[in-house]
């Protein structure tokens, strides 16, 4: 009885461990799949083509039309890999005091800034012809 009971417990424990392990394994996987697939904000306050033009032309006057950097830092995906989109959106909205990076709040709404931040991390689209 005791032996059987132990075996039953052991099987149960193994099952639980397997489920736990599977969950552990799945969770980061699931989250890593989910993150890039996290949709860009469904709504932006400005039309998308206007945001693309603003980033390429106006941000581009410091960061370069190709976003490879200039007076401002490069904004290519490899340069932004270490920062999450929310942080980038905050930088866009509030600027970086003590540097030439101005606050864009007032010109860009929060959903615009978040859209730009996510698109910068993915690789920013080219300006519409």
């Amino acid at each position: 009885m005791r032996k059987l009971s132990w075996n039953v417990r052991r099987v149960r424990l193994r099952k639980r461990l397997m489920i736990f392990g599977a969950l552990c394994a799945l969770f980061p996987l699931a989250s890593s799949i989910a993150l890039p697939a996290r949709p860009v904000p469904a709504t932006t306050s400005k039309p998308i083509d206007e945001l693309v033009r603003l980033v390429r032309q106006d941000c581009g006057s410091c960061h370069g039309l190709t976003l490879k950097g200039g007076l401002g830092k490069p904004l290519l995906p490899e340069n932004l890999a270490g920062r999450d989109a929310d942080t980038l959106a905050q930088i866009i909205l509030d600027g970086i005091p003590g540097t030439p990076m101005p606050p864009w709040r007032g010109i860009l709404a929060e959903n615009d800034a978040l859209w730009i931040a996510r698109k910068l991390k993915e690789g920013f689209p080219d300006a519409a012809p």
Binding site: R56, Q57, D58, S61, L65, G70, L71, P102, P103, I107
Partner: protein, 398 residues
């Protein structure tokens, strides 16, 4: 008699000597074209420039293959035949205005911002952001003459405000290090490099007056400018316009202002204020602030018409659809117009009768009468930015 025969013989010899050359290369001889009214327009997004004629108000041809020319500028050879275009991707391109073709091109750095040509027309200097420093090339064939790194405390600094000054010399400022340097090529192709001193926090651009005597660096990191008098020996730096924005709230700057074509009009100087929607007026003798002229937005270019009577001002986003014209003697805005979005640059014809304005987002160049402010013509251009006419060939610092 004998002497006349000799002269005739010499004349014939000259004709004979030159004739085979002309016959041998008929295709290579460039078209006969006056260059005094020519210019180039940078097409920012497409890596091309337009060769234009400001007398005919027309485009002669489009020249492609210049790489990334966002924020490109240009300077001209003393004979007004060649333009040197400084591209953002470090490309330096020599364009032949007679043939409308690229005569030479090098990619000299990773990320450049502007350049200058020496007073003798022999050296072309390029200032770089990445890697920071100045590279100097032979104007003839763009071979490298000198590589001047801008190292301060072990870190390369971005180079801004590079200008030529008489005596085969170039002046430039370092953005991070806040210093002004002089590179002197008067002794040959090995320059003497001298630190002139500390300008202040974050110089963003520099300019030199038409005599080549005064160099001024604008500061982004603080309210003020740095003045170098090159007639002093050794040249010394003096701070001017200190704290011009004191007591005022500093507004966000969505595009760096430019200092170009030293705006000296009626004996005084006019600059964009940084972080304030004003044009600063500085006394030309005392270098003290005289007044601030309120304008529509953050000024980017404050350009004097060649006679100095009016100043044309454009603005940073979100006000970059507007031009304002300031009357120099009364120091008031006398005209405001909105040619279209992305009003990036203005260039006057030689004596200032007309001005060409690039309207980037409308893919158009607008040409205005500078006395009536009426539009004379428009030309199509792909996202035009800088416009450069050949009279710059004869102006110090341009």
């Amino acid at each position: 008699m004998r002497r006349r025969d000799l002269l005739q013989a010499l004349g014939l010899a000259t004709v004979l000597a030159s004739a085979p050359m002309a016959n041998a290369t008929p295709a290579a001889s460039p078209p006969c074209r006056p260059t005094g009214a020519l210019g180039i327009v940078i097409e920012r997004a497409s890596g091309s420039v337009l060769l234009v004629d400001n007398q005919a108000r027309s485009t002669i041809t489009r020249i492609e293959g210049l790489g990334d020319v966002s924020h490109a500028s240009a300077t001209f050879s003393p004979d007004e035949r060649f333009a040197f275009v400084f591209g953002r991707d470090g490309g330096l391109t020599k364009i032949d205005l007679l043939t409308g073709r690229i005569a030479a091109r090098v990619v000299q750095g990773g990320n450049s911002i502007g350049g200058a040509i020496s007073d003798d027309g022999k050296l072309v200097a390029v200032s770089n952001y990445e890697p920071g420093g100045v590279k100097v090339f032979s104007a003839a064939d763009l071979t490298l003459v000198a590589d001047i790194p801008a190292m301060v405390d072990g870190a390369r600094s971005k180079v801004v405000g590079l200008v030529d000054t008489p005596g085969r010399r170039f002046l430039y400022s370092l953005f991070e290090a806040g210093e002004i340097w002089l590179a002197d090529f008067s002794g040959g192709d090995k320059p003497r490099i001298t630190l002139l001193g500390h300008a202040g926090k974050e110089p963003y651009d520099g300019l030199i007056d038409p005599s080549g005597r005064y160099y001024i660096a604008g500061l982004f990191g603080e309210d003020g400018m740095a003045l170098v008098d090159l007639w002093q020996d050794p040249p010394r730096i003096r701070r001017i316009l200190n704290g011009y924005g004191r007591g005022e709230r500093r507004l966000p700057v969505y595009k760096m202002p430019h200092l170009e074509g030293w705006t000296q009009a009626g004996g005084d100087y006019f600059f964009p204020s940084v972080g304030h929607h004003e044009v600063l007026v500085m006394n030309g003798r005392t270098f003290e602030l005289e007044m601030k002229i309120p304008v529509h937005g953050q000024p980017v270019f404050v350009m004097a018409r060649p006679d100095g009577r009016h100043l044309w001002v454009n603005f940073a986003p979100p006000n970059n659809d507007t031009i304002q014209i300031i009357d120099t003697p009364t120091r008031r805005v006398i005209h405001t117009m909105k040619p279209g979005r992305g009003m990036l640059h203005m260039e006057f014809t030689g004596r200032g009768a007309e001005v060409w304005c690039s309207v980037r987002d409308e893919n158009r160049i607008d040409i205005f009468d500078t006395h009536t402010f009426g539009k004379i013509a428009s030309l199509p251009a792909k996202a035009p930015s800088g416009i450069f006419f050949t009279p710059r060939a004869h102006r110090i610092g341009l």
